[in-house]
């Protein structure tokens, strides 16, 4: 299936590993991504905090560009971007709002039969993978299972909210990442802070807030027994990974040393894709001890199976 692909600004900066692994995984799952030509920033939280119309206009330009790709829908790895594009399209079903946005654009958006804007729908890459490809297909593709490593999944606040627009997963207890991680061979622990906000919106004005919130998320994950956190959001990832030491300091904890992965990196790992498609070197918290653990467990398991087979063969002969 062909998708108009919207990488989002962080894909070029702080989340290059997400961008690389998303493209690699989509490619492995036969998802045809066509990057939207000359896309612009969606405006993120500052955009819709200042003005819905301004935010709508920034999104509308992207969606108009997207329609040139000939794809059916737009997908974006970033929950903030996909949420913004989705909400803009939703708001623009109202003809009055559409008119407001149109007045900010060079040319008005095309109208549908009801007088709303005729624009493409946007989904998160996660939603497209879960709903269009399916967890079973992922499971079938696994060549290097994650050997039961204990993880918590962290969705952040935007993936399935607001529920009446997102229409994806359970807004209080989403399970899409859980299902993927289970399909990869990890153990997923119960985690009440799955959708707790990491405070990304405050990252620059006041580091104490994301520090406190991220610290609490990491602390809880650690107490729950997690060996890693898995996320689908570049902003969350920055707070949990890049700011992890800072969060530990602010919440008066010892360093957590808790690796934080993008789910796409772990899919790539379990699919046996080449290292450059994961860019694990970009992670601030060193994932190597955990990767070693997976390798050890795998080796032990393979050896055990081998011994078992030999024993069985010996008995037979």
């Amino acid at each position: 299936m062909k998708y108009a692909y919207y990488p989002g600004c962080s894909g070029h900066g702080s989340s290059v590993e997400y961008e690389a692994s998303t493209r690699a995984v989509c490619n492995a799952l036969d998802m045809d991504l066509v990057e939207i030509a000359d896309w612009n920033c969606c405006g993120s939280t500052p955009g819709h905090s200042i003005s819905h119309e301004l935010s709508g206009a920034l999104a509308a330009r992207n969606l108009l560009q997207a329609s040139k790709t000939g794809a059916d829908c737009v997908i974006s790895p970033c929950p903030s971007c996909s949420s913004n594009l989705k909400i803009a399209r939703w708001r623009m079903q109202n003809p009055e709002f559409k008119a407001e946005v149109d007045s900010l654009l060079d040319a008005p958006t095309p109208a549908n039969a009801e007088g709303g804007a005729d624009l493409m729908e946007t989904y998160s890459v996660l939603q497209a993978i879960v709903e269009n490809v399916g967890v079973d297909a992922i499971n079938r593709r696994v060549t290097y299972p994650l050997e039961g490593i204990k993880v918590v999944t962290y969705y952040g606040c935007l993936l399935s909210r607001p529920a009446h627009v997102a229409k994806f997963d359970d807004p209080n207890n989403p399970v899409s990442l859980d299902n993927i991680l289970k399909a990869l061979g990890a153990e997923v622990l119960p985690f009440a802070l799955k959708t707790e906000c990491c405070g990304a919106a405050m990252g620059i004005p006041d580091v104490n807030i994301p520090g406190q919130l991220s610290g609490r998320i990491l602390e809880t994950a650690k107490a729950a027994g997690a060996e890693a956190v898995v996320t689908a959001c570049p902003l969350c990832h920055m707070n949990l990974d890049l700011r992890q030491r800072q969060a530990a300091r602010i919440t008066k904890n010892k360093p957590f040393e808790l690796p934080v992965f993008y789910y796409t990196q772990l899919i790539a790992l379990a699919f046996g894709l080449p290292e450059e498609s994961m860019r694990l070197d970009k992670l601030a918290v060193n994932p190597q001890p955990l990767l070693d653990k997976i390798a050890e467990r795998r080796a032990a398991r393979v050896q055990a199976a081998h011994d078992e087979a030999r024993k069985a063969a010996g008995v037979a002969s």
Partner: protein, 657 residues
């Protein structure tokens, strides 16, 4: 024909937006109307007397009253005209309150519309004919569906008055939810001590036939003469032999069966007696778990049974009972709280329901009355109670208050302190609703005397974590809206006051009873205030929570009330039918039999009339639903009082231009 028209003010209810005098004036010009006037309260005694006098003075043959909805006062005015010597069906009502004055403000338009509705009633009345009721026999037995405390009360009261009672209970014992409770509020007296004697009375009363482990399969007939088919589900134990000794339940090797009586917090055997005071105290085999029934291997119970009661080849049996009235007392089930994922959705072992907690506190329960949490069997130090779980929650589609959770939560908090004085109890609540006798005092006692910490606010999430000592803790995060702060409690156990809804299968049974039910599975009473026990199906009554959330005293009261309604019904030697039933025009009937096929009451039969086959309506069985009328290709079958001619006259009266 001479018709009199009375236009009611209903105080200011109608008069405020309808010129009733003008309506009366207009009505004087309608055909056959010889008298018309407006009156302040037509339904009052002087108002009715006025109608009687007018009938006599003007020699009226029929009366139209323009006032409120016929639901309330049509019977009133029918009796009025009857007192003056007219047939009760020579009366029509025009609803100019609900259909006019309450829904429009424009006085002129309202007055015109009221006059039109009066015209319609007059045209109908001109085609009315006197109708006369037929009398029929009544089977003076009552079916009580559900053996909870409401059904038990109804059954005992009815049986005490000499009425035969057939009680059908889905579970293998009666007692319902009350039998699961340890104590009851506001007296904190032992639930089974007050309920068990009543259960024994049910078993011993010669007027009561009990079918436990049974369900109503189908119901046909009508008030006074229902035929009920009851499915006696296979118990695989011959109850006529079983002595309830319980040896089989000790020897059965299948120990991993969820104990539904204990709300799943413990396991029982595949052959089981739910609790020591069960009525009937008989063993039942659960075929989903029994090894003999599943794989054919085992048979231990059969070997140990000293009376040879085990019957692995038992099948369901259908029995038929005739009754004259039915009381539905099917109770409630808990709202599906497992959908509340922020509370763990049933995955956290120490987050339990109030009903599970009740079993835990019960001396006959799985922990013999000791409170310890399911995960590690340790005594909890901090217990958090969360109220309104699945109540007053539009996002779960449950906007109503479940009524009694505030009270049982206070009771459970008090009992927690009685069992474990060093344990702290926290209650997250939105409002404390305690309007019963001694109720508010009781919730105050929980706080003042027992030191239960009430926190006004809802809980947002529960996070399990591993404590330093390796045990599991639950961080309960909520709000204290009075403090205006977020608060947290590190709890060992969380008890959810889960709201209630109509019992599973209530809708299905309602279809069989031909009564209405709401979105939540509660049965609809005939009138919210004035007919809370009756339904809109004659002879079917309601008792207990199946009608709406209520506590034990209210359920018992409604059980008695339903029994009293049945006694009143059975006090007449014969019942009279409603003569608004179908009548066959023999000249037109071609005996195609379509009406016989569609009649939901089996009220139409085929008869021979002068050598020709014809349809015939059994008047006392027909309920006047009109399905036959709509089906008959010849227009040969008509519902009296609602004939095609009468309805078309009404339409023509409205659509004159």
């Amino acid at each position: 024909m001479k018709i009199g028209v009375f236009v009611c003010h209903c105080g200011s209810n109608i008069e405020a937006t309808v010129d009733t005098a003008a309506v009366a004036k207009i009505a004087e010009n309608y055909p056959d109307v010889v008298f018309a006037e407006d009156s302040m309260y037509t339904c009052s005694e002087p108002g009715q007397e006025n109608i009687v006098q007018a009938i006599k003075k003007h020699g009226l043959d029929g009366v139209v009253v323009a006032s409120c909805s016929p639901r309330m006062h049509e019977p009133t005015f029918r009796r009025t005209v009857e007192r003056a010597g007219l047939n009760r069906y020579m009366f029509e009502m025009a609803n100019i309150r609900e259909h006019v004055s309450w829904i429009g403000r424009d006085r002129e338009a309202n007055t015109n519309k009221a006059a039109e509705l009066v015209r319609l009633a007059v045209e109908k009345l001109r085609r009315n004919a006197p109708l006369y009721a037929k009398q029929f026999d009544v089977t003076k037995r009552v079916l009580v569906i559900g053996g909870g405390v409401a059904g038990i009360q109804a059954a005992l009261d009815a049986a005490d008055s000499g009425i035969g009672v057939v009680m059908v209970e889905r579970e293998s014992t009666i007692g319902g939810k009350m039998a699961k409770l340890d104590k009851t509020f506001p007296t904190v007296d032992c639930s089974s001590c007050v309920l068990a004697p009543k259960m024994v009375d049910v078993a011993q009363n010669p007027n009561i036939t009990l079918y436990a482990h049974s369900e109503v399969e189908s119901i046909s007939g009508f008030v006074g003469n229902f035929t009920v088919k009851i499915r006696k589900r296979a118990t695989y134990v011959d109850w006529s032999k079983c002595t309830g000794c319980g040896i089989c339940t000790e020897k059965c090797p299948e120990k991993n069966v969820p104990d539904t009586f204990n709300e799943g917090i413990s396991k029982c055997r595949a052959i089981n007696i739910p609790f020591p005071q069960a009525i009937p105290k008989k063993a039942t085999i659960n075929p989903d778990y029994c090894r003999k029934l599943k794989d054919g291997k085992c048979g231990v119970c059969s070997k140990v049974c000293t009376v040879g009661a085990i019957k692995y080849d038992m099948v369901d049996e259908i029995v038929e009972e005739k009754v004259g009235a039915i009381i539905a007392a099917t109770g409630f089930d808990l709202v599906d709280w497992k959908t509340i994922t922020e509370f763990g959705g049933g995955t956290y072992p120490d987050v339990i329901t109030s009903l599970q907690y009740e079993r835990m506190m019960s001396a006959s329960g799985p922990t013999a009355g000791h409170i310890h949490r399911p995960s590690d069997h340790k005594e909890p130090k901090n217990i958090v109670f969360i109220q309104c779980v699945g109540s007053r929650d539009c996002s779960m589609g449950r906007p109503y208050c479940s009524g009694f959770c505030c009270m049982y939560t206070a009771k459970q908090a008090i009992m927690t302190k009685d069992h474990l004085p060093d344990t702290d109890a926290y209650v997250f609540y939105m409002d404390v609703r305690a309007p019963g006798k001694m109720y508010d005092e009781f919730t105050r006692r929980a706080q003042e005397e027992y030191g239960v910490q009430y926190i006004r606010g809802r809980v947002s999430a529960i996070q399990p974590y591993t404590r330093e000592d390796g045990s599991v803790g639950y961080i309960v995060r909520g709000a204290d809206t009075l403090l205006g702060e977020q608060v947290e409690v590190d709890a060992d156990m969380v008890v959810l006051a889960v709201g209630v809804e109509g019992s599973k299968g209530a809708g299905n049974l309602a279809e069989k009873l031909r009564i209405s039910y709401d979105h939540y599975g509660f049965y609809m009473e005939s009138h919210v205030k004035l007919r809370p026990v009756e339904t809109n199906t004659a002879g079917v009554y309601l008792a207990g929570v199946c009608q709406g959330p209520k506590d034990i005293p209210a359920s018992v009261a409604q059980g008695s009330a339903a029994a009293a309604k049945v006694m009143a019904l059975f006090s007449k030697p014969k019942l009279e039918n409603d003569p608004q039933v179908s009548v066959v025009d023999i000249k037109r009937c071609v005996a195609c039999g379509k009406c016989i096929k569609v009649c939901p009451y089996q009220a139409i039969e085929e008869v021979e009339f002068r050598g020709q086959k014809k349809a015939h309506v059994i008047e006392t069985v027909c309920q006047g639903c009109g399905v036959c009328t709509a089906t008959c290709p010849q227009g040969a079958i008509q519902v009296s009082h609602f004939t095609d001619n009468q309805l078309l006259a009404e339409v023509n009266a409205l659509c004159q231009f």
